[in-house]
Amino acid sequence: MNYRNAFMAMLIRDLRIAFRQRAEIMLPVIFFVVVVSLFPLAISPDPAVLKTIGPGVIWVAALLSVLMSLQNLFRSDFDDGAIEQILLSPYPGALLVLARVLAQWCVTGLPLILISPLLGLLLHLDFHIIKVLFVSLLLGVPYLSMVGAIGVALTVGLRQAGALLSLLVLPLYVPVLIFGSNAVVSAAKDMSYNGQLLWLSALLVIATTLGPFVISSALKVSCSYR
C-alpha cells in the first residue's frame, strides 16, 4: 500500500464507523443550535441587538460544539489499543492521524458549518453577512478541529479529561475567534474583511501542516502511560 491508499483506507474506515453511530454525529449540531437559540432568550429578542451580538454568539457556540465533538476523538481507539497499532504501522503516524481528524471534521464540523446560515437567519443577519459567516466558519472550523485534537491527544489517557481539555485548548482558539467573528462584524459595517479571511487561511495552513506531527507525538506520549 502506498501512502495515499493508507490515508484513504483510514479515512474510509473512520467515516464508516462514524456513520454507524448517527446519533453521536447529530449531537454537536443540536448543541450548536440550542446554545445559539438561548441567547435571544437571555439577552433580548430585539433584532438590532441580535444583529450586533450574532456573529460573536455563533462563533463562540461553534467553538464550544467543536470542543464537545472532539472529546471522544481518540477515546475508543485508545481503549481497545487501535491507536498503538496505528502508531506502530509502517505508515507515518501523522498521515493516519490527519485522516482521522479529517473524518471527524466531515461528520461533525461540516454539518455545523452547513447549518450556520440558518442560525444567521434566526439572529437577523443579512444575506451578504451570512455569506461571510459561512466562509469564515469554513476556514476556521478545521483549525479548531486540528488544534483541539492536540489537546485531546494529550489528555486521552486521563479519566476526567473534559475540564482540563477546555483549559488547554480554549486559549489557543483565541486568534481564530477574533479573526472569525471580526470578519463577520466588518462585513456588517461594510468594511473590508479580506484581511481577516487571509489570516484564517494562514492559521489553517499552519495547523494542518504542523498539527498532525504534534498530534501523533502526543498520542505516543499518551500511550506510554495507559
Binding site: 482540563l164 477574533i178 479573526f179 504542523l210 504534534v214 506520549v221 502511560y225
Partner: protein, 251 residues
C-alpha cells in the same frame, strides 16, 4: 580540544545532576545577595528618588513592579518552552526539572502583572479592568500557564507528565505571538482611544535606572527560585543514585 568540543563538554557537565547540584548550591548565596541589593536599589530609587510623573502623579510608581513582572511572564514561558524542547529532543532530565519549576513562578509573575495592572488602571482609567491589549494577552498567557500546570499535575508518572506538558509548552510558544498580535489588532479596532500613557518612549534617567534595576532583580529572583526548586526536585528524583547517598551520609 576545539572551542566547540569544550562547549559540548560544559553542556554535558551542566546536565549531570550531581555537578548541577553543587554549582547551583555554590551560586545561590551570591544570587540571593545580588537580588536583595538590586531590589533595594530599585525600590528606594523608584519610590523615593524618582520624580513623580507630570500626568500620573505618584500612581505611576507601580510600574516598578508591574513592568518587570510583565516582562518576566513572557520570558519565563520562553525559558519553559526552550527547556521543554531540549527535554523532548535530547531527553535531558534537568531541562524538564527547570521547565517544571518555572511553571508556577511564571504563572505567579503573570498574576502579579495582571493585579498590578488593574490597580494601576483604577486611578488612571477610572476602572479596575479594561480590555486593553496587554492586559488581555496577559490574561490569556495566565490561562496557558494554568493549562500547563493542570496537565502536569493530572499525569502521575513524572517523565510522561514532562513529555506531555513539554509538547503543550511548545504548541503554546508557537501560539503566543499569534495570540498577542491578534489581540493587539482586535484592541485597536475596538478602542482606538485607549493608548497607554506608558507608550511615551522618552523616559527620565532617574526613572529608568530603578526600573532596570528592578527588572534585573526580578530576573535574579526567578533564577534563585528555579535553582532552589530544581535542587530539591533533583534530590527527590535521584534519591536512589550514588551521589545523593554520599551527600546524605557526609552530612
Amino acid at each position: 580540544m576545539s572551542k566547540v568540543d569544550k562547549l559540548w563538554l560544559w553542556f554535558h557537565r551542566m546536565a549531570s545532576p550531581a555537578y548541577f547540584y553543587n554549582i547551583a548550591g555554590r551560586l545561590l548565596p551570591w544570587i540571593a545577595v545580588a537580588t536583595i541589593i538590586l531590589m533595594l536599589v530599585g525600590s528606594v530609587g523608584g519610590l523615593v528618588y524618582a520624580p513623580a510623573d507630570y500626568q500620573q502623579g505618584d500612581g505611576f510608581r507601580i510600574i516598578y513592579v508591574h513592568v518587570p513582572s510583565a516582562w518576566m511572564s513572557m520570558f519565563v514561558y520562553m525559558v519553559m518552552a526552550v527547556n521543554s524542547a531540549i527535554f523532548l529532543i535530547w531527553h535531558i532530565k534537568l531541562s524538564d526539572i527547570v521547565a517544571r519549576s518555572s511553571a508556577v513562578i511564571g504563572a505567579s509573575f503573570t498574576f502579579l502583572a495582571l493585579v498590578t495592572g488593574s490597580i494601576w488602571g483604577k486611578p488612571m482609567w477610572g476602572t479596575w479592568w479594561i480590555w486593553d491589549a496587554r492586559l488581555t494577552s496577559e490574561l490569556i498567557l495566565l490561562f496557558l500557564y494554568l493549562g500547563y500546570i493542570g496537565l502536569r499535575s493530572a499525569i502521575d508518572d513524572r517523565r510522561v507528565a514532562g513529555r506531555a506538558a513539554g509538547i503543550l509548552a511548545l504548541v503554546g510558544a508557537i501560539n503566543i505571538p499569534i495570540i498577542h498580535y491578534s489581540v493587539v489588532w482586535w484592541n485597536t479596532l475596538h478602542q482606538p482611544a485607549s493608548v497607554s500613557k506608558l507608550d511615551n518612549p522618552s523616559i527620565e534617567l532617574s526613572m529608568l535606572i530603578p526600573l532596570l534595576s528592578m527588572a534585573l532583580a526580578f530576573k535574579l529572583f526567578y533564577l534563585f527560585i528555579v535553582l532552589v526548586n530544581s535542587r530539591s526536585e533533583l534530590l527527590e528524583q535521584e534519591k536512589r543514585s550514588q551521589w545523593v547517598k554520599e551527600l546524605v551520609t557526609s552530612q
